[in-house]
């Protein structure tokens, strides 16, 4: 099954932010084989906020890990900004993640020994490149963490930590941001802050984001939702609302 997005209006560039071709990931062999991904073709267009939904074990995290070069697929190809991820060695993958991809994880995603500001600039510091001060200032202002920059993660609330993580994900102006359950550990107010920021960075800055979630209200912030079950894409929804997502989840039996 092939899916292409049709709602891409603000970016006419030829290469999508990322795409996967017949992606398969199998654990174990023979009778015991488990197909985490059973042939997925998907394209994440630039400037689009995509939500990936599905029940536990549907393969949504595996899809993200393979696309981000954190995991090697059993077969098939993944591309980020047109770059064949499978063709990269460890150093190349590391550079890809550092320069082209931003990550926001569910929790524990800051380095405890570094201050908030140092955590944000970490990818740039690792690359040894100069931090774009204006860009940093903009992100910090947008996220409302200006007075928290010298604090260590242990001195920040969960919501503040996740906003710092968002800033870090965007600091290198990546081609694509992967967010894995970014609001999984947050209360509803903090969740709304984070999701609003992600939404804005897509709408106002043209950032591309792929977010794995199982929260329909969170997914409603996205432009496009794809549904995974048993390692395959089983549905999609353009311009979703929480209700339409719930409706679709019911029909899919997920």
């Amino acid at each position: 099954m092939t899916l292409t997005s049709e709602g891409s209006t603000d970016n006419a560039q030829a290469t999508p932010a990322a795409h996967a071709v017949d992606l398969r990931k199998t654990y174990g062999t023979g009778q015991a084989a488990v197909h985490a991904l059973a042939g997925v073709d998907v394209t994440f267009e630039r400037g689009r906020f995509t939500a990936v939904m599905g029940p536990s074990g549907s393969g949504k995290s595996t899809l993200m890990h393979c696309m981000a070069g954190l995991d090697r697929p059993t077969s098939g190809q993944t591309f980020v900004s047109g770059q064949d991820v499978g063709a990269l060695d460890d150093a190349g993958l590391t550079r890809l993640r550092r320069d082209k991809i931003g990550f926001v994880f569910q929790s524990y995603n800051l380095i405890p020994t570094l201050s908030a500001a140092e955590n944000i600039t970490l990818p740039a510091d690792l690359a040894g490149t100069k931090v774009d001060r204006d860009w940093l200032g903009y992100l910090v202002k947008q996220l409302g963490i200006g007075d928290r920059l010298t604090h260590r993660p242990s001195e920040l609330s969960g919501g503040q930590q996740q906003r710092v993580a968002c800033a870090r994900a965007l600091i290198n102006k990546p081609a694509l941001v992967f967010a894995d359950e970014p609001t999984g550990n947050l209360d509803s107010n903090a969740s709304a802050d984070v999701l609003t920021f992600l939404r804005q960075s897509v709408s106002e800055l043209g950032q591309s984001i792929v977010m794995v979630t199982h929260d329909p209200r969170g997914a409603a912030y996205a432009d496009w939702v794809i549904f995974l079950a048993d390692g395959t894409v089983v549905g999609e929804l353009d311009q979703p609302t929480a209700d339409s997502i719930l409706e679709r989840m019911r029909t899919l039996g997920a």
Binding site: L70, D71, A91, T94, R97, Y108, I111, L122, L126, A127
Partner: protein, 838 residues
């Protein structure tokens, strides 16, 4: 609970292996020492037993000074031999003579063992039953210029019967004909000693004992009553001569060997215990971290019903099992180490009579007790920490368990460190070696307890250049080292102890070298110093030969021997008095050197003070040869290690001691190198001499100090290795703990190279931290040690800054080495697995 313990052990194999390694090495050291010294002891006991196997009695002089095998005894008149032979029940009696005789190899060099074993010249005993020597080729010496050579020398230097060989002795150097080759029992030589056996008259001449015997060995006729024979012999002996059983002689020799060996084994054991002490820090640290990592698991055990006792017991049991397994491995390796050392000894030319390794039950008991004991005791602290974990922790995400309060820690640390320092001070002043050891241990534990307080700021300072050098990786490494000051300090503590001891030895060695040089400078004004190499003796002809060289303006011969001064055994030095002022500097504080010529005694200022003696006073003394004497104090000079505490004239000395050549010569040549080389030339036919200028002499002293230091460093090296294992261990555990964090860093773009740099940075900071604290403490310890040995002749203090800097740099380098494995592991972590972990 037993199941939990064993599962716990199996789950953490790697860190247990690392922990165990510290114990394995320490126990190896202990058991190796025991096995080696027991084996040597056994070998010598057997050897002496064989030598005296057929000897029933020995007639010898009564011990004049000292006792047992090391006693000074007077020689016997040769005429006594016939007296003894005539005693009813005596089947045979043979006179023994032993002195210095050294073969000269074909290349003109004197033959000696590097181990410093003696070169013996003895009378060949023709009685096969009584002699321990067995001819394996040729026959006994018959003519005055016949000699029998030991098989080891003959083999090594290619001598056979019928050939001629030059032999150095206290008399003139002479050439002999080899009539036979002998073995010592079944060994080719006697523990490395070379042997030249002559006819009795020749041996007497060589040993400067014409008409005299050292002792007489007696064999009784079969069936005769031994006690009756012994009584009969005793009845014919003059005063001052005794008859003892062969067994007595064996026992005396054996016990003198075991005394020497026990000194040797004690010295080695000290280093073994230092290693284990350092190992204890490593174990303490490992178990602390293990308990920390298992906090939730232990809390869960408490929830499901484990009592505090059971938790405590499970941690201790884990320690006991680790200790037991390591000790058993260590015992096994100890045997191998002993074999290796034995091979090393024979490499030095010390061929021992064949004897199998001796593995005493005591070796096993001590090895196991110490290995298990150290492990269990080190784990008590962490086990108590485990007990304090409240069960609720298992249900709570915040895994923090507060340790002992900092203030309590500070108090304890200060008390321990101060108490240790005081004990150490008393121990050094006494001197009492046990107190020094306990004090040092207290000091180290105290400082280790206190050091977490400075770990953060110090790590920060040490790590300051790293962010600039290595970027984020360096910065993160520095932050990681500051993150858990307690862990950093505990890990560094082991290295601290090692470096403290090494630095203390460096300060001691540098001060010793400097003192040796300056005492030579202050005592000797001679330009050239002639001494015998190793255990050799000068020929009587050497003084005349040397002083006959044109340009030699003054010659002073010096002698030394044992005597009793105010009831204690000590060393007496004598110098020839003509031209004394040209070769020896005596800084008189009272009296005059001229008193020497009047047969008066000069003493040094330290002795004068401690014994309350002054010029004009008298003191009782006793000489082995001439008996008691009252000596008049003619002068007091400033203490100097080279001159010693008691000085008389050569004339006085020779009147109270058996005839002997001087121990060395001091020559005045005006510093002319032409004269110096003329002296060397003139003495060339005595290859057993060394002719040194004063500078060379001082250099030789310094290099012998350095040799000793090198040996001590090598022995301390094991402790440093164990400390490094501790660093490896901590880093591995840290990497394991931070799996998730490292995974995150990798996810956001950290290269493997950067991960490695991060781990290495932390290791280098750890190592430098330990080294700095260690070097500071060690320098203080070394200075204290030097101060306490002022009386013993270490008058100068030197701090070898360059050596200390090298130690620091080496520590940093070793830190890098220790980090290589953990760094590789960290870099190899699977990013996804790291993120997904837990």
């Amino acid at each position: 609970m037993r199941k939990v313990t064993i599962k716990g052990l199996l789950a953490h194999k790697l860190r247990l292996v690392l922990t165990a390694l510290a114990i394995v090495l320490g126990v190896t050291f202990i058991s190796g020492t025991f096995v080696l010294t027991d084996t040597l002891q056994n070998t010598f006991t057997t050897l002496f037993g064989n030598i005296y196997a057929n000897i029933d009695f020995q007639v010898r002089g009564v011990a004049q000074l000292g006792s047992g095998a090391g006693a000074t005894r007077n020689e016997l008149p040769e005429s006594l031999l016939n007296t003894v032979r005539r005693v009813p029940g005596v089947a045979a009696a043979d006179g023994q003579v032993s002195g210095y005789a050294q073969f000269v190899a074909r290349d003109g060099k004197a033959i000696a063992n590097s181990g410093g074993a003696p070169t013996l010249g003895v009378a060949f005993d023709p009685d096969r039953q009584m002699s321990p020597l067995h001819l394996i080729a040729g026959g006994p010496p018959v003519a005055p210029d016949d000699v029998v050579m030991d098989a080891a020398t003959a083999q090594k230097y290619g001598f056979t019967t019928g050939q001629r060989v030059r032999i150095l002795s206290a008399g003139p150097t002479r050439t002999f004909t080899i009539t036979g080759i002998v073995q010592f029992g079944t060994a080719n030589n006697l523990a490395g000693a070379t042997l030249a056996a002559f006819t009795l008259p020749t041996a007497q001449a060589i040993a400067q004992e014409t008409g005299k015997l050292d002792d007489i060995n007696v064999v009784t006729t079969p069936g005769a009553s031994k006690t009756a024979v012994q009584r009969a012999i005793a009845a014919v002996l003059p005063p001052g001569v005794q008859v003892v059983t062969g067994q007595t002689v064996v026992n005396e020799s054996t016990s003198s060997v075991s005394q020497a060996l026990s000194f040797f084994s004690t010295a080695l054991l000290v280093f073994a215990f230092i290693s284990l002490f350092v190992g204890a820090f490593t174990i303490y640290n490992t178990f602390s971290i293990i308990v920390g990592q298992r906090t939730r698991e232990l809390a869960l055990l408490r929830i499901v019903g484990a009592s505090r006792r059971q938790v405590f017991g499970s941690v201790l049991a884990e320690a006991a099992i680790t200790g037991l397994v390591s000790s058993v491995i260590g015992l096994g390796l100890g045997v191998l180490a002993a074999l290796g050392l034995q091979a090393l000894l024979s490499g030095f030319g010390v061929t021992l009579p064949p004897g199998s390794l001796v593995f005493e039950p005591r070796t096993v008991l001590v090895g196991l007790a110490v290995g298990v004991g150290v492990t269990v005791v080190s784990a008590i602290g962490p086990a108590r920490g485990a007990v304090r974990i409240p069960p609720v922790v298992a249900l709570d995400d915040r895994q923090s368990v507060a340790g002992a309060s900092l203030r309590r820690r500070f108090t304890w640390g200060t008390v321990l460190a101060l108490a240790g320092a005081v004990l150490l001070g008393i121990g050094l002043a006494q001197p009492a070696i046990q107190l020094v050891g306990i004090g040092a241990a207290g000091l180290f534990v105290g400082v280790a307890t206190l050091s977490p307080a400075v770990a953060r700021p110090l790590s920060s300072v040490i790590g300051r250049p790293l962010p600039r050098l290595l970027g984020v990786a360096g910065k993160l490494g520095r932050e990681n080292s500051m993150r858990s000051p307690r862990r950093t300090a505990q890990t560094a503590a082991a290295l601290m102890v090692g470096l403290a001891l090494v630095s203390a030895m460096a300060v001691f060695g540098a001060s010793l070298s400097k003192s040796a040089t300056s005492s030579a400078d202050q005592a000797i004004s001679a330009d050239v110093i002639v001494t015998a190499t190793g255990s050799a003796e000068l020929s009587n002809a050497v003084p005349a030969t040397a002083s006959a060289v044109p340009g030699v303006t003054a010659t002073t011969a010096f002698y030394s021997g044992r005597f009793e001064f105010q009831n204690s055994l000590t060393r007496l030095v004598a110098v020839s008095t003509t031209h004394l002022a040209d070769t020896v500097i005596l800084r008189m504080t009272a009296g005059t050197p001229a008193a020497l010529s009047r047969g008066e005694l000069l003493i040094d200022s330290t002795t004068a003070r401690s014994k309350h003696l002054s010029v004009g006073g008298t003191a009782r003394a006793r000489f082995a040869l001439t008996g008691p004497a009252v000596l008049r104090i003619g002068g007091i000079y400033q203490a100097n290690a080279l001159i010693g505490s008691y000085l008389v004239s050569a004339g006085f000395f020779l009147a109270h001691f058996p005839p002997q050549p001087p121990g060395g010569l001091l020559l005045r040549t005006g510093g002319s190198s032409a004269v110096n080389s003329a002296v060397t030339q003139a003495l060339a036919r005595y290859p057993n001499l060394q002719v040194q200028t004063r500078a060379q002499f001082e250099q030789a002293q310094v290099s012998s100090v350095n040799q000793l230091l090198g040996l001590v460093y090598a022995l301390l090296g094991l402790a440093v290795i164990i400390a490094l294992i501790g660093i490896v261990n901590t880093l591995m555990l840290s990497v394991f703990e931070r799996t998730r964090e490292i995974g995150l860093l990798r996810a956001v773009g950290m290269q493997r190279r950067q991960v490695r740099a991060m781990v290495r940075s932390e290791a280098v900071i750890l190592a430098i931290f330990g080294a700095i604290v260690g070097i500071v403490i060690g320098t203080a310890l070394g200075l204290a040690l030097v101060a306490s040995l002022r009386q013993q002749g270490i008058t100068d203090t030197a701090v070898p800054v360059s050596s200390l800097v090298i130690f620091l740099l080496l520590s940093a380098l070793l830190g890098l080495v220790a980090a290589s494995w953990p760094a590789r592991r960290a870099a190899r972590l699977d990013v996804l697995a790291a993120i997904a972990a837990e």
